[in-house]
């Protein structure tokens, strides 16, 4: 099957800055694909390369097998939900949603009917006459979504669409977006810097760092088997153990990752790893206890309800060797 979106050693340089550096990427049709990374990691530039607002310095981009290097944005069958929503302030909600149909020459009646249909899909029935300025952030977000979907794009691009919403609304929208994608079967490419969002929504995700993809895989793979120090750190703050420490634990001497929730606190005597507690951070569902072990700091997630030691106490750390995942590099 042809991939919905394919990058072949694509680079985008801005002067000396390599915003996107020889990225290879393939997004299967009908998947919810997330691009995750800190700001400046190249994820948004990748999205803009797909929509056509940036041109690759090197390499080729294919959308459903077709090279789009010379295709301007208005002729690509992809639509974007912009980070700031980019709703037209002089048009009302219905005209905003119908804009894509209007510029394609669809008549007013059909256009309005389709726009209303889309507004119903995003639960904004009856908001057609309002101006974007009269809507809340969450409502604007839905209008932006409806405006993109009314064109029935083959790929929908979402640029940090939930960034401006408050936590409760964001969680509700995450569920809705996911459900919408399942229902419509359109390929979604979603850019975010929020690892929780990426893990919970995506079928597959790519972790970006310094213009390169650090790792690509299912959320489960990325979370439990981070390949690099960066991924381990960025996605759920894993513990990263240096090779000498890993060797002491009885595993081959490579860098390795260890999830905080896979660890238990024990008595200091007889434990393979032990040290003094240097920090306790209450997280609601649990407490993250930081232990200074020779050569490393290790975080342990202690579930709520369990007994917590005092700061400064000497403790041991127990775990299954199966939870120690070797990494390719530091």
């Amino acid at each position: 099957m042809t991939a919905a979106v394919e990058f072949q050693t694509v680079s985008r340089h801005f002067g000396p800055v390599r915003a996107v550096d020889e990225v290879n990427l393939s997004v299967a049709e009908g998947t919810f694909f997330a691009m995750l990374g800190p700001s400046g990691s190249g994820k948004t530039t990748c999205l803009r390369l797909i929509s056509g607002f940036e041109k690759p310095t090197h390499g080729a981009i294919r959308i459903f097998g077709q090279d789009v290097s010379n295709t301007p944005p208005n002729r690509r069958n992809v639509n974007t939900v912009f980070q700031d929503y980019a709703l037209f302030p002089h048009l009302n909600v219905r005209e905003n949603v119908g804009y894509g149909l209007m510029v394609k020459g669809v008549g007013r009646a059909t256009r309005n009917a389709k726009a209303d249909e889309m507004l119903a899909l995003v639960k904004l029935d009856g908001f057609g006459e309002r101006k974007p300025g009269q809507l809340s952030g969450g409502q604007r977000q839905r209008v932006a979504l409806a405006r993109a979907l009314v064109n029935e794009p083959r790929v929908l691009l979402l640029d940090e669409p939930l960034g401006a919403l408050d936590l409760k609304l964001r969680e509700a929208m995450q569920d809705e977006l996911k459900a919408l994608q399942k229902r419509l079967g359109i390929t979604f490419v979603f850019v975010t810097h929020d690892q929780g969002e990426a893990l919970s929504m995506a079928d597959r995700l790519a972790v970006f760092n310094h213009g390169k993809i650090a790792q690509i895989g299912t959320p489960e793979e990325i979370y439990s088997r981070p390949r690099t120090h960066f991924v381990a750190d960025f996605v759920g703050s894993s513990n990263v153990l240096p090779p000498d420490l890993v060797q002491r634990l009885g595993a081959p001497p490579t860098w390795a990752s260890l999830r905080p929730e896979a660890l238990r606190l024990t008595a200091a005597q007889g434990a393979v790893l032990s040290g003094a507690i240097i920090g306790l951070r209450y997280l609601g569902a649990g407490t993250r206890v930081t232990v200074a072990v020779a050569g490393a700091e290790i975080g342990v997630l202690v579930p709520s309800g369990a007994q917590l030691p005092e700061a400064g106490a000497e403790v041991g750390i127990a775990f299954d060797l199966a939870d120690l995942h070797p990494m390719e590099e530091a």
Partner: protein, 311 residues
């Protein structure tokens, strides 16, 4: 132990306290002087002018008859006077249109692409002509456009003299040379008022986020469609603001048509002559009311057309 309140330091703190307790006092203090200035000096004299226009002049004695009448307004409709109004209106409209067309690319460039040093160059380039005397500029243009001037010389030396001759042969706007034709008056008006069109346009365009243009392209619009359906409507308040300047400045000007152009009169010149040499203050006042009425009509039409929807 430290007190919960900080010590009062003097009259400044006492005044601040008064303003904090009664915010309206501060507002009143700030707004009263300009309001008096506008209300009494400006609106007052405008009302006096309006009053004058309802008086008439006694044709034998040349004295102003202080009785309410619409006779003076009736005089505006006499062919000689109506011609002046029509001519001024046409000139103002064409100057405004031309200014908008010339200003748009400049304003667009400045708003979209110019950054840092180029932005400074832009502002300097636009403002610099405003710093030198208006009279000097107009006389300079008279020389530039004269029969022996640089425009004729350049046109002749590159073999385009025939184009210039063809333009001057146009009925109604042509003439002996550019400096003695309506075409010349038009060119100088456009030059002199152009900055007043560029600046508000640039300010309006600057407020249009780039993402709106991208959204338009993303939704399938061509560049022309984006211009028509997004850029132009959003820039409209700026275009209207600029056109208020160019339109009303052209309508009121009485210097440029005197120096560059034919001897045909414009409203400004008519007002100037009527209140001075002719001593017909009522008719001068009636003439002066015309631009006000025209601007009001223009603005209400613009409002009805939705020019201010994006404000």
């Amino acid at each position: 132990m430290k007190s919960a309140l900080l010590p009062e330091r003097g009259p400044g703190d006492r005044l601040t306290a008064i303003f904090w307790r009664r915010p309206r006092v501060l507002l009143a203090v700030l707004i009263a002087p300009p309001l008096l200035w506008l209300g009494v000096v400006y609106i007052g004299s405008l009302a006096a002018l309006l009053l004058q226009s309802f008086y008439s002049i006694d044709e034998f004695s040349g004295l102003v008859v202080r009785e309410f009448t619409l006779k003076t307004y009736g005089e505006l409709l006499r062919p000689a006077n109506f011609d002046i109004i029509r001519r001024t209106l046409l000139m103002s409209a064409s100057v405004t249109l031309a200014s908008a067309v010339v200003a748009f690319p400049i304003a667009y460039y400045a708003a979209r692409y110019a950054t840092g040093r180029w932005k400074a160059v832009f502002y300097l380039g636009i403002m610099l002509p405003l710093w030198s005397s208006y009279l000097v500029k107009v006389y300079a243009w008279k020389l530039i456009l004269a029969k022996e001037g640089i425009v004729t010389w350049v046109a002749d030396s590159v073999g385009l003299g025939f184009l210039l001759d063809a333009a001057l042969a146009l009925p109604g706007v042509g003439g002996n040379s550019l400096s003695t034709s309506f075409l010349g008056t038009f060119l100088v008006f456009v030059y002199v008022w152009l900055p007043y069109m560029i600046l508000p346009m640039q300010a309006a365009l600057e407020r249009v986020p780039k993402s709106l243009l991208e959204a338009s392209a993303d939704l399938g619009a061509s560049s022309a469609q984006t211009f028509r359906t997004v850029i132009l409507p959003l820039a409209m308040p700026g275009v209207i603001a600029g056109s208020i300047f160019t339109f009303s400045l052209t309508m009121g000007d009485y210097i440029i048509p005197q120096i560059v152009g034919t001897s045909a009169r414009f409203i400004g010149l008519a007002v100037y002559q009527l209140q001075g040499t002719a001593g017909n203050l009522p008719l001068a006042a009636a003439f002066a009311v015309v631009p006000i009425i025209i601007m009001l009509i223009y603005l209400s039409l613009a409002k009805r057309a939705g020019a201010f929807d994006a404000l």
